[in-house]
């Protein structure tokens, strides 16, 4: 490799070493894709509702070219279309962690080249809006990089326009020290929607919200990696969904604390009606030596029909000391008292049900919007 002229010996060594590490990681990743098999029933991360069938269907979709529309609103000059020739972005995607979907990520890489990269170096006045839509199959990548000390707000929307629309999105979110980011993902109208998200928090505050509606099948993998200590490092993950018909929502999360002294919080709420199914499998991982970590995880489900099903697997893996960590999962029918209160005020039953369900979900969305940015 070429070194800049004015570089000292030490810097050159450090750079060479970093380069060697990166190459090694990339080689390992190549191996990972070579060895990965499509998810099957023995894959612990694809356990419920036979989702591996959807994995097989998604894999087949990758035989057709990715085809869809991407646009960015109010981004100014910070948005750049992703090009298949951009090696840096491709490498970022190669190193992305998945939750049991390495084989699918490998397929996504082969079609790499759609989507947007946002390099945010100034505070955003209004939310930047990123829209992906398709009437067939679309596989975009999104990169969000927020510079040190910058406040940003981003809304990402995925829309399916036809009955068989499918979308497979990868999302890399990079939050620098002192940065504040509020980012939401909304998807609707897909036969199959899958997103793999990697949040790297290097010392900022990031709030992340997902909301899915009218998708027959949705799979969400969100890995938040925390690399910086200190009170200013906060990672908040929220989700609020209302499932009807025979919709299936399969959500998987990891809160990975590589270093200690940081906080993370997760609140995933679902209202499950008709014969819909909600799966939540979360994990908090506190690495050896990541002492003084504060990590919380909570999954709450409201079941509205006798055919509704939920699976909840809130996991913890703690390898450090002086950790404050807790998780909870609760699943219950609608609170009759709340309903009764509304009925006794003369509100029709259907409307009352709607209100209680909305109130239940608003807990998560309100917390997301209360997260401080752009005051």
């Amino acid at each position: 490799m070429d070194f800049p002229q004015n570089m000292s010996m030490e810097e050159a060594f450090a750079l060479a070493e970093a380069e060697a590490k990166l190459q090694q990681a990339l080689n390992e990743s190549r191996e990972r894709f070579d060895q990965a098999a499509l998810p099957d029933r023995l894959n612990e991360d694809w356990r419920f509702g036979r989702p591996h069938r959807h994995a097989a269907a998604l894999a087949e979709l990758f035989d057709t070219p990715s085809c869809g529309e991407a646009r960015v609103l109010r981004a100014g000059e910070c948005a750049v279309p992703v090009s298949a020739e951009d090696d840096d972005l491709r490498q970022t995607e190669m190193l992305m962690p998945t939750i049991g979907s390495d084989a699918l990520l490998g397929l996504h890489l082969q079609q790499f080249g759609a989507g947007y990269a946002l390099y945010i170096e100034e505070d955003t006045k209004e939310p930047i809006v990123l829209e992906y839509s398709t009437d067939s199959f679309y596989a975009p990548s999104t990169y969000i990089m927020v510079a040190p000390g910058v406040k940003a707000e981003i809304e990402e929307r995925h829309t399916g326009n036809a009955a068989e629309s499918a979308l497979f999105a990868t999302r890399n979110i990079h939050v620098a020290e002192g940065a504040q980011l509020r980012v939401s993902l909304r998807s609707s109208g897909f036969a199959r929607h899958m997103s793999i998200t990697n949040i790297q928090n290097l010392g900022g505050r990031v709030s992340h919200l997902t909301q899915h509606s009218s998708n027959a099948w949705t799979r969400e993998e969100t890995v938040a990696e925390i690399y910086a200590a200190g009170e200013g490092t906060e990672t908040r993950l929220y989700s609020a969904n209302r499932l009807t018909g025979s919709e299936v929502l399969d959500q998987h999360t990891r809160q990975v604390h590589h270093v200690g002294g940081a906080a993370s919080d997760l609140l995933y709420k679902n209202v499950v009606d008709d014969s819909a199914t909600a799966v939540f499998a979360g994990n908090i991982y506190v690495a050896p030596g990541a002492h003084h970590t504060d990590a919380y995880q909570s999954n709450r489900n409201m079941l509205l029909s006798e055919k509704a099903t939920i699976h909840s697997l809130p996991g913890l893996e703690i390898l450090a000391d002086k950790v404050r960590c807790s998780h909870g999962s609760a699943s219950a029918p609608m609170d009759e008292e709340q309903l009764f209160y509304l009925l006794s005020r003369g509100i029709p039953r259907q409307e009352a049900l709607q209100l209680v369900a909305e109130g239940f979900l608003a807990d998560a969305t309100n917390r997301f919007y209360a997260a401080e940015t752009n005051d």
Binding site: T309, I310, P314, E317, V323, R324, G328, P333
Partner: protein
């Protein structure tokens, strides 16, 4: 925690002795059809059982190991390195005087005869593969209570035993269930007739004496309508260089209105793989409680389960586990709500010390169409050192909108301020730590029978004076 503080706990080492091996029967290493023929011949078993065992062996060989979810250590289990049947003879003695000398001395050193006199209704003492001693108070047999080992149970009480044999835990349930069905020997068969309530507990004691032993006891407890029973089991083995395997199957059947409490204090040496399947079937208004304490063994995988099969049945698991350096305690509970208005409760507390790893793995399932089911799960973990590890892997499935399930878990450390306060009052750091840890598990220890809770406290207590200066 200050790194200089050593583990405040000492393992109970009373089981740390062994006698020379002296077997009348030895089926050798590995499990094949020939091994099964050997076991059947030694025990004089009927042909149906021989076929049954061989069918189970075929299933065992076909089934995969649970590598995709089990702790790493399970990869080291080598089924060919174990000896599948070792015994002095197949007839249990009814009096300690008739028990072979070294076996008697073993149980005397472990205090079993004393406990029997003091507070037990009956004792079954298993030495390697077979029961060495089995006795029960006479008045209980007059009431129709049956308490024998599994071999005798199948021989003498086939009409009660066989209909329930392998019904709660079927052969093909998992690889270790198939293994036990193929090689089982020892364990208890208990039948408590309608309405009989045992005032004192029955006790089983499992002892592995020989190196490379595989112990596959099989226990079936049937409590008829309205009956009540408490059963306790204790386990020890000496430490050998090579590993030993303990893979028991325990089936409980609580018929209408019956109540079964099953207490385990497991203190195997750390070279023992403790892979046990325990499951109970609770019919209408019945109650099953598993009270489970895991202190020993290098790798424990044990998830006591209750299938709530009858309306208003109740299940409970109370679990304490302690993982020292090099130990993996993968314990938990399973509750299957298969009838309406069933309730269950799980309370699990684990302590990880040094490099120990304690995991909670649990399953709560409310099946389709069940109304008014309730489950509450709490699991708390205490980490003593910086290198300790704790994991929680619950899996909850709820069908329908008429049940409530909640799970809560927390991880914490011993509060430095509390230690400081106690040390300031003149306690050593170790004593303070001991007090804190006993406080953490105090409410669960109370669930154990009196004699055991004293024992437990002693086991978990710090004998700090010796460990740090």
């Amino acid at each position: 925690m200050d790194e200089s503080v050593e583990s405040p706990f000492q393992l109970d080492t009373r089981g740390e002795f062994s006698f020379p091996e002296n077997h009348k029967y030895d089926a050798g290493y590995g499990l094949t059809e020939a091994t099964i023929d050997y076991i059947c011949d030694a025990k004089g078993e009927p042909d149906w059982l021989r076929e049954f065992r061989k069918e189970a062996l075929r299933k065992f060989n076909e089934m995969p190991m649970p590598y995709h979810w089990a702790p790493e250590g399970i990869r080291n289990v080598d089924f060919d390195s174990f000896r599948y049947y070792l015994s002095h003879g197949t007839t249990p003695r009814k009096s300690w005087d008739e028990v072979p000398d070294e076996v008697k001395r073993t149980f005397e050193r472990l205090g079993v005869p004393e406990q029997e006199r003091a507070f037990l209704a009956g004792v079954d003492a298993q030495y390697d593969s077979e029961t060495a001693y089995n006795n029960m108070r006479e008045e209980l047999s007059k009431q129709g209570v049956i308490f024998v080992n599994s071999t005798e149970g199948l021989k003498e009480y086939e009409h009660i035993f066989r209909p329930w044999f392998g019904k709660v835990i079927p052969v093909g349930d998992n690889k270790f269930s198939a293994l036990n069905h193929a090689a089982f020997s020892g364990g208890s068969f208990i039948y408590v007739p309608k309405g009989v309530k045992l005032q004192q507990p029955l006790q089983a004691y499992f002892r592995i004496n020989s190196a490379n032993m595989g112990q596959f006891e099989r226990t079936l407890i049937i409590a008829d309508e309205g009956a009540e029973i408490m059963y306790m089991e204790g386990c020890t083995a000496p430490m050998y260089d090579s590993s030993t395997l303990h893979s028991g199957v325990v089936e409980l059947v609580a018929l209408k209105g019956a109540k079964i409490q099953y207490v385990t204090v497991q203190n195997w040496a750390t070279n023992v793989y403790n892979l046990v399947i325990q499951r109970g079937l609770a019919m209408e208004d019945a109650e099953i409680r598993w009270i489970d304490c895991n202190l020993g063994s290098g790798l424990t995988m044990k998830y006591p389960a209750v299938v709530l099969q009858g309306r208003r049945a109740r299940g409970e698991v109370v679990s304490i586990s302690l993982a020292h350096d090099g130990q993996v305690q993968d314990t938990g509970a399973r509750m299957i709500h298969a009838a309406p208005e069933t309730t269950s409760n799980i309370v699990a507390k684990s302590i990880s010390i040094g490099q120990g790893r304690a995991s909670y793995r649990g399953e709560v399932t409310v099946l389709k169409g069940m109304q008014g089911c309730k489950n509450n799960t709490e699991c708390d973990a205490l980490l003593i050192n910086a290198a300790s590890r704790t994991d929680t892997y619950p899996a909850i499935t709820v069908n329908g909108n008429a049940s409530a399930v909640q799970h809560e878990a927390s991880v914490s450390q011993v509060d430095e301020e509390m230690l400081f306060y106690l040390q300031q009052r003149g306690l050593t750091r170790a004593q303070a730590m001991s007090l804190a840890v006993n406080g953490f598990i105090n409410d669960l220890v109370k669930e154990f029978p009196m004699e055991y809770s004293v024992e437990l406290r002693r086991l978990i207590d710090l004998e700090m004076e010796d460990s740090i200066g």
